[in-house]
Amino acid sequence: MFEKKKDELVHDHNHDGVERRGFLKCMAWAGTGAFCVMKGGVLNSYSFSRLPDPGAKAETGELSFVQISDSHMGFNKLANPDVAGTLQIAVSKINALSVSPEFILHTGDISHLSKPEEFDTVEQILKGASPKDVFYVPGEHDVLNDDGKQFFERYGKGNSGTGWHSFDKEGVHFIGLVNVMYLKAGGLGTLGHDQLAWLEKDVKHLKHSTPIVIFAHIPLWSVYPEWGWGTEDSAQALSYLKKFGSVTVLNGHIHQTMQKVEGNVTFHTAASTAFPQPQPGKADSPGPMKVPAEQLKSVLGITDVNYVQGQHALAVVDSSLA
């Protein structure tokens, strides 16, 4: 019998009806380590009852991957003087997942100051993870110099424009978007005309039943514009995805887990592996939030995502590093 650990936050969108409505009322927060548990059918969820022995591989027609975010390698202030150490713990958590993820999505702010040695350190630490493939999108901390040239050369070879790209895994279509380039004064994240035109074309001929996963750094929904937590032109991007039955948007940037369901789209943000940030409006600014040292791991985390072919949506599980 699969047991959900008390530090896990589980969102399963495979059930319609009451569970879904119940979920819509629940906005989950992990900023202070307090978790709100989904009501209705989670433990009965198909994807969990299918999770077999630890270390098992996903069966054919199943897909398991993990999202990490905001490793901020190079940050060394009080909120976390050892971001390499907490990233290492995240890798151990990935390796302990009951179904081995096939790959890792890193939703940006890999480095803290765009320094080569910071990127190198993250790559080195991630080499210890069992999934060998890592797909990256940049955060604003990754493109601080030379218009992101260094990031692009490391992770964006073969990609167009500022590094947007798409790929397919087990019938799921993944789209990496870049919304941290050429930010304008007073503005939010931005995708830009060229990227939007590419996105429209990229999904045009896909079957409506194709599950879509979008990953980008800054949230693609309006979490808290006052703090820059949103993307100006995301509505246009989402308009190209209306026809799809299942769209999952995975973001980072805000250093806390948050989720919203809007029609066919599930938006989800991941915790950071480096330091937490305050809940919207609960502090003067969205800077690094200090917590007692013994609580730090409980406010950092990874996100495990499972998809079973034929199911309507992906199961997204956040777990802390504690």
Binding site: K77, L78, A79, H112, L113, S114, E140, H141, L144, N145, L183, K184, A185, G186, G187, L188, E226, W227, G228, D284, S285, P286, G287, P288
Partner: protein, 120 residues
């Protein structure tokens, strides 16, 4: 001999001290003049403060980052009037405003942070 030398030194020190006090009026005027040609903007809590700073032409403005997260100071003009490198905690950026005008700027990492230098 030694005693008289040390006495002389002490007397000289006292004399210089009182001279300095006497000159302090002039000295602070000099200092005020120096202050007028330099000004400061603090970066703290994701804010530039003061958000609008008015200075006279020829003033050197220095931004200091007191946040525990990096910020930048980037002119919004095209072409940019000034652009700092990334400022980590306690790092500074200075720019001398020789022309009059209004110079809007922002943090390119956190674009909601905006400020203005008005040069008269």
């Amino acid at each position: 001999m030694r005693r008289s030398v040390s006495f002389a030194v002490l007397a000289a020190a006292l004399a210089i001290g009182s001279l300095a006090l006497g000159l302090s009026g002039n000295h602070s005027a000099l200092m005020a003049q120096e202050k007028a040609s330099s000004a400061e903007v603090k970066i703290d809590n994701f804010c530039f403060s003061p958000a609008t700073l008015t200075v006279s032409a020829g003033t050197t403005v220095t931004w200091t980052n007191h946040d525990d997260i990096p910020h930048t100071v980037v002119s919004t003009d095209d072409p940019r009037a000034f652009k700092s490198k990334v400022l980590d905690t306690d790092e500074k950026f200075s720019f001398t405003f020789s022309k009059s005008g209004t110079f809007a700027y922002f943090c390119s990492i956190h674009p909601k942070m905006t400020g203005k230098i008005v040069v008269q």
